[in-house]
């Protein structure tokens, strides 16, 4: 291996060519101006708003004039019960949806990569809701979850269970929306897990079987650890989606009853509608801090473990 000198001539040849165009400006086959159009749009409509949001969150603001009021907006966000509820609900919603998506997605993926019948049908039917609009799904499930004559409670009543009032019960409203979110998103988690499981070399399972490992054991000792990249992807994706979630909540409860199912994203919208632009922007800053403070360490943790293996 070390004696192999063959690469040197081929390695030498491109050098002058590569060095030449790089020296003379504009001659590189990969010009920097290719970045320009994307960079302009991205900077103007994403980076600039993100940066200035930190300033405007400290003001009372009506888009043309602003008064600097220090941290008042944040004090209000963390003092008014309605707004605090939005904070805690954001965590609950993010946690419930991602845990359920990870667990159900994993189980379904194991089921759909095993030798059962009708796998193609099951995969397609489970994935289809991912492509539906949140508003449509929200409206359909609002009808299904109707406490009096909705199909879910009628179905539960048929097997002798008294269903909750779902969206109209303050204790259940947020969880109900989270469950619908899982219904809509579990197909994505499943296909991500399927991709992860399929990439595990089949020999491992065969070897484990030879050694007499039960399917239970090979799940915990082969599938689970080796599908870790998929787990990381599912957790990160569903947490980002869950913490920022707005569409489904707005379509189903508008944060109600009262403000029991408000999340930060719906608080941002309500304050915007009410004309409290500074407060709305402060909500945005809080959401930014929460999302990055959770996602960054978590993704670093999940990726570091991967390297160790």
């Amino acid at each position: 291996m070390t004696l192999n000198t063959a690469p040197t001539p081929t390695a030498v040849r491109p050098v002058p060519q590569a060095a030449h165009p790089k020296r003379r400006k504009g001659k590189s086959p990969y010009p920097y101006w290719f970045y320009l159009p994307a960079a302009v749009i991205y900077t103007a409509l994403f980076l600039v708003p993100t940066v200035v949001s930190f300033f405007f969150s400290l003001t009372r603001w009506n888009l043309s004039e602003f008064t600097f009021i220090g941290l008042d907006n944040f004090v209000q966000l963390f003092q008014e019960p309605a707004l605090i509820k939005g904070l805690t609900n954001t965590f609950i919603y993010g946690l419930v949806t991602s845990v359920l998506k990870v667990v159900l997605g994993m189980l379904l993926a194991v089921l759909l990569t095993s030798q059962i019948i009708a796998r193609g049908y099951l995969r397609s039917v489970m994935f289809f809701p991912v492509l539906l609009s949140s508003i449509g799904v929200g409206i359909v499930f609002t009808a299904l979850m109707d406490p009096r004559n909705g199909m879910i409670n009628e179905g539960l009543a048929a097997i002798g269970i008294q269903g909750p009032a779902w969206l109209t019960d303050p204790a259940w409203a947020l969880i109900s929306v989270a469950l619908v979110d899982v219904w809509k998103g579990v197909g994505l988690a499943t296909v991500i897990y399927i991709a992860g499981i399929v990439s595990i070399p089949q020999e491992y399972f065969e070897a484990a079987k030879m050694d007499g490992a039960s399917s239970f054991k090979s799940f915990f000792n082969i599938t689970l650890p080796l599908a870790r990249p998929a787990t990381a992807t599912v957790i990160i994706l569903s947490l980002i989606g869950g913490l920022r979630s707005f569409d489904l909540i707005w379509a189903m409860t508008k944060g109600g009853p009262g403000f029991t199912s408000d999340v930060i994203a719906s608080v941002i919208y309500k304050q915007y509608q009410a004309g409290f632009y500074g407060l709305s922007t402060a909500g945005n800053v809080v959401l930014f801090v929460i999302v990055t403070a959770i996602i960054l360490p978590l993704s670093m943790f999940l990726n570091r473990k991967e390297v160790e293996q």
């Binding site: 949001s53 095993s114 059962i116 009708a118």
Partner: protein, 276 residues
């Protein structure tokens, strides 16, 4: 024996559960959409006694001066324009980023990651749009969708470009290809499969988008389909049949995409699941 039991037993069980959990809600939507008003109001899972497909269809389309038709036109323009811009700009960025190692790469990677994670700051974005005169306009919303979608598209393109041998670029350069010709004539056609993936995933995403049109293109007059559906929700509270017909209609485009591009959609959405 036990494997056969598992194969069929588990399979039948899974099919039964999938029918209850997934098929019935979807069928419920379709059935309610073709019922008359009284039957639809019962919200039950029954076969309609008189089919009103055509009546409901025309009623929904003509409601409020054909607002849904306008919305379909707007959504189509929005989707086609923003996906076209996204594909070209993201491919250009991804290509240079993948090929040319420089001190900008770190910055670019950081910005791409930020775009995937950070929730957009709403009111400051409106402020910027307003100062450019693009607030409440379709071009403004198109640029918004481009800005918010760039990170994801660049990521998909870059992973694919890494698999194209660099010798190809070098050969083209030796033959006298300039950067623009090299990219659009040589590289761009090679990206076909990933371009299809990006187009399909992004167009479903943008067509279904609700939050951005709600903030950046408000108002009834030139709404998108999702916004129109949302507005109908408060107007049609007693007409479940019309509301569900509306849902059915706006589900058709993603459904067609799914029928034809199932594989590409799944590929695009699971990208990164294996490598992490």
């Amino acid at each position: 024996m036990s494997t056969a039991l598992k194969r069929y037993g588990l399979g039948v069980l899974a099919i039964a559960v999938s029918v209850v959990v997934f098929i019935i809600p979807l069928l419920f939507m379709v059935l309610t959409a073709v019922k008359d008003r009284k039957e639809a109001a019962k919200l039950d899972f029954a076969w309609p006694t008189n089919f009103q497909f055509v009546e409901n269809f025309t009623a929904v389309l003509s409601a409020r001066k054909f607002m849904l038709v306008t919305a379909f036109i707007n959504s189509t323009i929005l989707t086609v324009a923003s996906v076209t811009i996204l594909v070209i700009l993201a491919a250009m960025v991804a290509w240079v980023l993948q090929r040319r190692k420089s001190r900008w790469n770190g910055v670019a990677n950081f910005l791409i990651l930020s775009g995937l994670i950070i929730p957009p700051a709403i009111v400051p974005t409106i402020w910027v749009l307003q100062s450019m005169g693009l607030f409440k306009t379709l071009p403004g919303l198109i640029l918004i969708e481009v800005a918010f979608g760039l990170s994801f598209c660049v990521m998909l393109f870059r992973a694919f470009i890494a698999s194209i041998p660099k010798e190809l670029d070098e050969a083209a350069v030796i033959d006298g290809c300039g950067p623009v010709r090299l990219f659009f004539r040589v590289i761009f056609p090679l990206l076909r499969s990933v371009i299809i993936t990006v187009i399909v995933v992004q167009s479903v995403h943008i067509f279904n988008d609700f939050q951005n049109p709600l903030y950046f293109l408000p108002g009834d007059a030139n709404a998108t389909v999702q916004l129109t559906l949302f507005n109908f929700q408060s107007q049609f509270t007693t007409n479940y049949n019309l509301l569900f017909m509306n849902i059915l209609l706006i589900t058709v485009p993603p459904f067609i995409m799914y029928l034809f591009f199932n594989r590409q959609i799944v590929a695009g959405m699971t990208a990164g699941a294996v490598k992490g």
